[in-house]
Symmetry: C2
């Protein structure tokens, strides 16, 4: 009943430079160039030219991840693992408020139990890893490693729930799961072992269950949008795409502008009355590489203007001030750090920390001491601004909030710009081919869904960047958004389905996806 | 280099009732009886009579753990998992202060890499679980599940450490490991999958490494003594017992009074100069069932004195006050909860929460409303004391601190009473057979260590409780305590080894152990 969402959104900013520029456009261009610059530090290829190499370089050179000698497995290094811990802290505190309790079930499942729910396990069977030996002895019967924990947990739900007084039962676990994918592995997106959170709850009434489904979906949205500045669209899955066996599946859908593809960010299912429902998500690393609220470090403070001619006394003065600033910021909960390494130039340090996604840099040189100020540089847009040292404790937190807010707004704008309303079929595929999602009146019939997928399968593969090895794929229904377009409003009995011409029920969101 | 310590200490209080009692002794007896009573709630056997059944009942009836259908695997339920999370929060914050960074390495290891360090892996080889199949396909080569992560991590240490500037490298991970034990599994003590923390650090100088070893050992001590009120003895392992290949191993040793056995609580190793060293611990559930600071809930508030004759208005008044008290306590960070279930008697609720280890109970009835007070009942010794409602916020935290302090002191007293100084061999085995540790002058020679083990192997098995299936075992050297006895002080060149009669170097701690 739980759905694999071992996927994450990579928030990016699109760049479009018009030929003739107004002043505002110039300003915009400057900001965009700075953003582009920031994103390229230490990276040898442009994201737009070779997405796959770019992605690999960002992950490894920022030290978020390293490759490993077992295929499909990766090392999650501190910079990335820290984001996972931030997500854990945020989400775990929130679900505990809702009365969810953390637990830990074994990762091993006997074959008999695993295969008890045939329909459920069918989808996972090809990917289940089996332990058959311990030391040099063969086990009496093979033991599976959990691909998800429904079959592990539900026998005990049955045991523990004796009467309605034992309800609601709300359990959650943070754990690793294994799906031995034979497809091309992708760091953070498709890995054989991954970390996730799976919540399983049982309620007395469907109303209660419905409420929980949406509460958890809202928390998932908060993790992406508020914590990580990654916009998502909330909605309900079509009957075809919903979790098999469940009553309905709600989802939040992310978007990768560079490839124009969707990505399922998290799902929250309702399995039906008087029974259990589950929530699941895997956000291994959602907003590479910059995220302010979840960033491991908020502010890096770098001394500069120290040359061979600088006296030892002057050097000490600057370094002391750098340490003092760090201390002051830490005292109000800002994660700050000084880079006092004397074997690197300031420019090298700028690159080093920009690559690692530190959202704000403060520079302090001898002249700044005289002026009692520091120069701040935003990573996200390159904008520089002096801050009087006395204002540090008020200005820096405001700046970090602003960075987070503007990063989200930019990403949200790009996302919104790529969700196109399409009212007639002739526009459907061209809009899709321009790396957009399509929001279109739809009859919500599965037959029609299949037809849309088939009709939108790409014939012209030249538009696909070289590095994209995925097959030309048709558009899937991603969700039926909770927020339906107001303009043009869908008129029941009048608005027709974009594909079959029957009465449209609601707008559906379609797109190519990971 | 890391040592399996999937073990935990179960703090207990010994009971000895002298025939003739002074007033103080009577008071002591009363407290002990209350403690004994508390420990027996819902439990059908006495700990002293059948330790194994008692242990099983405490774990399952308090809902800390449930049995599972794969042998050697157990379900860690919220009450126990919460303690693990408390330990994680405590320890993780402390090591981050020391500059340690959290990371996550894959749980899979290729055979080639696993077997690279032959000497190291030799001890683990018989217990390694092997994945040989995925879905219905055989893997090209079997893949191991980590029994510990040295071989997983160190190739990457080599890759990441390019110069002394990359030192110290301090990494830690919280993860599951698998050791397919064929011995009798024991919940929390010996399980095939278990959760732990393993830290691996590399330093430039031995001095730095030495410092880190002791800093981490001190944190382990704090987790046991300060967080969980479980006393331990700190010391260094003998050459024979140290981690193979390492330079030296420091350890904290716990003690189970009921069986008189030792338990290795955590170890911190130094592997040698210019290299990496590792720390490891597994505290799945250290102080069953009562622990105040780490307790999931500090205070349970229970309404009472509500009978069939109570008016609905009066009932509401009491319940409102109960909720108000809970709110007040929560507002100052005390984990409090109301038990307003109307289908259980107060007595049933008392038992329910005592079994689950809630250290403090507050009772509120109609008469308490009149007197503006609540009756507090300590779980650890049964002592009752009224608290004026206006004093709640000051008195309750103080009481919780006192409970924690006294629990530790009692356990520490029992531990200390069972560490006996032995100066001649004739006393060694009798002292041991009385379920004590032996602290004895020792030459520190391995030959002598072996001889002590052999000579102290028990011949009279009748003293062993029925449930103890372990073979009659000799005493191992547990550690050479950092805190050496002052009286009688060991005189170099004069004091002789208890076994061989050669010059003693230091006092060694010997005992039977798990």
């Amino acid at each position: 009943m739980s759905t694999n969402s071992d996927q994450s959104a990579k928030g990016n900013v699109n760049k479009q430079v018009p030929k003739k520029q107004t002043n505002k456009q110039k300003q915009t261009k400057k900001v965009e160039a700075a953003i582009e610059g920031a994103a390229q530090i230490g990276i040898e290829v442009r994201k737009e030219a070779d997405f796959s190499t770019w992605y690999q370089q960002v992950l490894t050179r920022s030290e978020m991840l390293d490759y490993y000698d077992v295929s499909g497995c990766y090392i999650i290094r501190p910079l990335a693992y820290n984001i996972w811990q931030e997500v854990q802290n945020y989400f775990d505190a929130a679900i505990k408020e809702l009365g969810v309790e953390d637990t830990y079930f074994p990762m091993f499942v006997s074959q008999r139990v695993l295969e008890k729910e045939k329909a459920h396990i069918e989808g996972f069977a090809p990917e289940v890893a089996w332990v058959t030996k311990a030391g040099s002895s063969d086990l009496e019967e093979p033991i599976a490693i959990r691909p998800t924990s429904e079959t592990v947990m539900y026998p005990y739900f049955a045991k523990w729930i004796r009467s309605h007084r034992d309800l609601p039962l709300k359990l959650n676990q943070w754990c690793n799961v294994v799906r031995w994918e034979f497809k091309n592995p992708q760091p953070f997106l498709r890995t054989r072992e991954f970390l996730w959170q799976e919540g399983h709850t049982a309620h007395f009434s469907k109303e209660e269950a419905d409420t929980e489904v949406l509460q958890i979906l809202e928390l998932y949205r908060q993790v992406y949008e508020d914590l990580l500045a990654v916009p998502v669209i909330r909605g309900i899955k079509s009957e075809k795409e919903k979790f098999a066996g469940g009553l309905y599946t709600t989802t939040i859908e992310g978007f990768i502008p560079t490839t124009g593809r969707g990505i399922q960010a998290a799902t929250s299912h309702c399995l039906g009355q008087n029974f259990s429902k589950m929530f699941d998500i895997t956000i291994e690393d959602p907003n590479a590489p910059a995220a302010s609220n979840a960033a491991k470090m908020h502010v890096i403070v770098i001394p500069l203007g120290l040359t061979a001619k600088t006296t030892e006394e002057e050097r000490k003065k600057v370094e002391n001030k750098v340490n003092e600033v760090v201390g002051e910021l830490k005292s109000i909960g800002v994660r700050a750090k000084a880079d006092l390494r004397d074997n690197y130039t300031p420019g090298y340090k700028f690159n080093h920390w920009e690559l690692r996604g530190v959202p704000l840099r403060l520079e302090i040189g001898p002249r700044d001491l005289t002026n009692q100020q520091t120069l701040s540089v935003r990573r996200d847009n390159g904008v520089k601004e002096p801050i009087p040292l006395v204002d540090l404790k008020t200005r820096v937190p405001k700046m970090l909030d602003l960075i987070q807010k503007e990063m989200f707004e930019r990403a949200k704008k790009v996302y919104d710009e790529h969700v196109k309303i399409v009212l007639k079929w002739e526009d459907f595929v061209p809009v899709l081919d321009n790396k957009n999602f399509v929001l279109t009146p739809w009859c919500e019939e599965e037959k029609c869904e299949d037809a849309i997928k088939e009709r939108s399968a790409r014939t012209n593969t030249e538009q696909e960047p070289q590095d994209e090895k995925a097959p030309s794929m048709g558009a899937k229904s991603l969700c039926i958004p909770f927020d339906q377009p107001k303009e043009p409003a869908l008129v029941p009995g009048e608005t027709k389905c974009v594909n079959c011409g029957q009465d449209a029920k609601r707008y559906g969101l379609f797109g190519r996806s990971y």
